[in-house]
Amino acid sequence: MKPTDISAPDYFHKVVDCQWACPAHTPVPEYIRLIAEGRYSDAYMINWKSNVFPGILGRTCDRPCEPACRRGRVEETPVAICRLKRVAADFKDDVKHRMPKVSAKNGKRVALIGGGPASLAVARDLAPLGYHCTVFDADPKAGGMMRSQIPKFRLPDSVIDEETDYILNLGIEFKGGHRIDSLKQLMAENYDAIFVGSGAPRGRELDIPGRKEAAANIHIGIEWLASVSFGHVEKIGRRVIVLGGGNTAMDCCRTARRLGGEDVKVIVRSGFEEMKASPWEKEDAIHEDIPILNFMVPVGFKHVAGKLIGVTFQKVKAEYDAKGRRNLVPAGEPDQTIPCDDVLVAVGQENAFPWIERDCGIEFDKWNMPQVDAKTFASTNPKVFFGGDAAFGPKNIIWAVAHGHDAALSIHKMLSGEDITERPLPEVHVSSQKMGIHEWSYDNDISGDKRYKVPHRDKVIALKDIRAEVELGYDVKLALGEAQRCLNCDVQTIFSAPACIECDACVDICPMDCITFTENGEEEDLRTRLKAPSPRHDQALYLADGLKTGRVMVKDEDVCLHCGLCAERCPTGAWDMQKYLIDMTHAGSTCQSKARSAA
């Protein structure tokens, strides 16, 4: 196996599993350390730069970081990264003065369609550079689906207002209540660039018998949630069935519980385990006395005289074919009709672009989706860019933000006359954390604490008030305990072979048996000869040669605690703990056309 090139920016980035998994690559351990120090505003600003909506995401993010968290491989549960983000937002001081100043305009105009996370992220990146950004949204206030679809008991308006205002106050023109019905018309206004961040606004239909006849009591999930959000709907029947197993279904059922639904059920086609909803959202629904029934396929709405009386389900079971694909086949049991007063259909979302004329230079594919470049987010019309759910279908807020950063960079490069396909490398800083013989700038004493639960509002009170936030967030003490669980994976173990005398001190002290000195070989073979098993091939082996005995040092990055004991016990300083910070390239990074290498 070849020696590891630790100067490649991606090598250590992958070791910081949470940051690597985050679409926006938020430097998670860095802000968690700041939270532990009580520097909430600093922690907030790191988040704000990277993911734009720390307070919103700290309540609603899909958390791709947490399944990736190394702590989850060392013990049962990962660090509660998402809820620590909320801590930064909850306990920060006034940060208005830390926001970018409204800058002098550079004369270039950018139109942004949709006032949701993707467009706002683009505007946030471009406005400080002098672009005149105009955001159009059909709703009167900014926020998009964050405001219309996420229930207030999960995400209060005040949080959305605060974080959308930070952006709109950068000198951005917001045109609320202004729906764009024709892209051609907008193009005629001669904007220098147009960004489409209009989301996936259409809820998927469930076309089964009885749908039309019982329409008065059958509601499309996201439309119904929006109506609740804007106060147009204030009650629902006593018995409610929610069809669908995603996060929208979870929001629907919990909202129904607050609007008079006493007997609310979620019924899904698949098995409980395969549901798309995040595990914690399922838990929250179950906690609110909402049963989730699985392996039931809706086959018809039952109605009497135009009034919905129930839904009929076919019972199915999962069968797996030779390729491991799952098929739902009839279980052979009789169909079951479950009585209800209202049905909420939350079986998916779709994109809809009726307002984009097909002759304005934007190519669409056979699924009627615009052709969008996955790196630059450019459409086939060089001036029009897409991002968020509008680009590749429904995902999450954090993806929309990540798309926004990349699209903003493309727009800035295009309008600076640069090649948008040339993507600058991120900036990387690596610096030793050694403060003394056994002192490090970070707390290397590993906490054995289990994951702390986020306190919830009492259920009886929570169910009475649809605007009462259910999660109360960590207090300072709980936050500190949870922050201490972070393993500081960004503080890297760096090995220098010429300094090593092969005394085995690091091998002996390593609590996780990560380090082996052995003869070199192919990676597959090496993985069988390490001090501890090495089953995870997605986790890198760090190999260094140049040792006096001709052996190599192999470190399995998989479960390293980053405790620094290898470096503490090393008599010659061959191991050092160095903090790795990676600055993702955003529009306006100082030298955005120059490719730089790490370390």
Partner: protein
């Protein structure tokens, strides 16, 4: 030294032994020795050997004297019995403990100062008596705790860190142990765990006086050019006579050995030692030849390592003295005070 405790977390895939323990369960407190000390590798080797043998920690007594080496029992087998005795007195305390209770596994841990200077006589007599123990000397050739004076095992002609030449002759503890009748004698190197771990395992399973001299470089005071106990010197001059595989229980021998290349030794408790010969002429059952071999190679500046001598049929002190098999603390009143008729018999025999 390190101020934080070693984290309790361990690798999720660590193998477990017959008792369901991982090697982490055989650890003690975190080492307070200098970073890189060879003694820490010996500690790790003892942990590994006890793990591999599936030893119940409460069946081990670890006894030491004074010095860097004698601190190490604090760093392994945290759930075993321990006695940190007076300087050089480990062998007496161990002998006494062994006489009182022969059921425990005795691990004597000492250093070159503790065994070759102040405790030289104690060392000699415990070996001479054939106490059933594993006597490990962590040999670095210097007095590390008092900043690096030559110890009695420093080779004549080797240089101190400041460049001073040692003019005294060295004591070779292995040679002495052979001469005094130790029935298991080995030498190894802290930087070679593949050699050291099976040697410790075999020594623990040996019935009789087992002695292992482990060269263990002192990073702070004896790891420089001119030292004969440095990592570089030992690696360059290491002349291993054999490699050892310890086969416990009734496991079939799964490794294929080329004919003539292996000497099989069956120990008292059924443990089989497979000695893979590196030096084809070396016979680990020949005490006299071993002594000659050692002297010849020492004269050439070579460090002979491996299992140098083993007598699989050795007897121990209890056999010599015909002592009671039951540990003293398990003897009941009726055995300890057999009554007046027994006394009468004894008295009659003396008339």
């Amino acid at each position: 030294m390190t101020y934080i405790a070693k984290p309790k977390f361990h690798h999720p895939g660590l193998p477990k032994n017959d008792l369901g323990y991982t090697h982490r369960d055989y650890e003690g407190k975190i080492s307070t020795l200098c970073a890189g000390c060879g003694h820490d590798s010996i500690t790790a080797s003892i942990i590994e050997a006890c793990f591999e043998l599936s030893i119940e920690p409460h069946r081990v007594a670890k006894i030491s004297g004074i010095g860097c080496s004698s601190k190490t029992p604090d760093y392994f087998l945290g759930n075993s019995h321990g006695f940190n005795s007076v300087h050089g007195r480990m062998p007496s305390v161990l002998t006494g403990a062994n006489l009182a209770n022969r059921d425990l596994i005795y691990l004597g841990v000492s250093g070159d100062g503790d065994s070759a200077s102040i405790g030289f006589g104690q060392f000699a007599h415990s070996i001479r008596r054939g106490v059933n123990m594993t006597y490990i000397v962590e040999n670095n050739g210097v007095y590390g705790l008092t900043k690096g004076q030559f110890s009695a095992t420093a080779d004549r002609g080797s240089k101190s860190k400041k460049g001073v030449m040692n003019t005294d002759n060295a004591i070779d503890l292995v040679a002495i142990a052979l001469q005094l009748g130790a029935s298991f004698v080995a030498r190894s190197f802290s930087g070679d765990k593949t050699q050291l771990v099976p040697l410790i395992a075999a020594a623990i399973r040996h019935k009789g006086a087992s002695f292992i001299d482990v060269i263990s470089p002192c990073i702070a005071f004896n790891n420089h050019a001119g030292s004969t106990k440095s990592f570089d010197y030992v690696r360059e001059h290491n002349d291993a006579v054999n490699r050892l595989d310890v086969i416990t229980g009734r496991d079939p021998i799964t490794v294929d050995y080329a004919p003539g290349s292996v000497q099989m030794v069956e120990q008292h408790d059924g443990t089989r030692l497979a000695l893979r010969k590196i030096d084809a002429d070396y016979d680990a059952n020949d005490r006299l030849a071993a002594m000659t071999f050692l002297q010849k190679h020492a004269a050439k500046g070579q460090v002979v390592t491996g299992l140098l001598y083993v007598d699989p049929d050795a007897e121990d002190m209890h056999t010599h003295l015909d002592t009671v098999e039951t540990p003293l603390n398990k003897l009941e009143a009726k055995e300890l005070c057999p009554g007046s008729s027994a006394l009468d018999k004894i008295n009659a025999s003396l008339r």
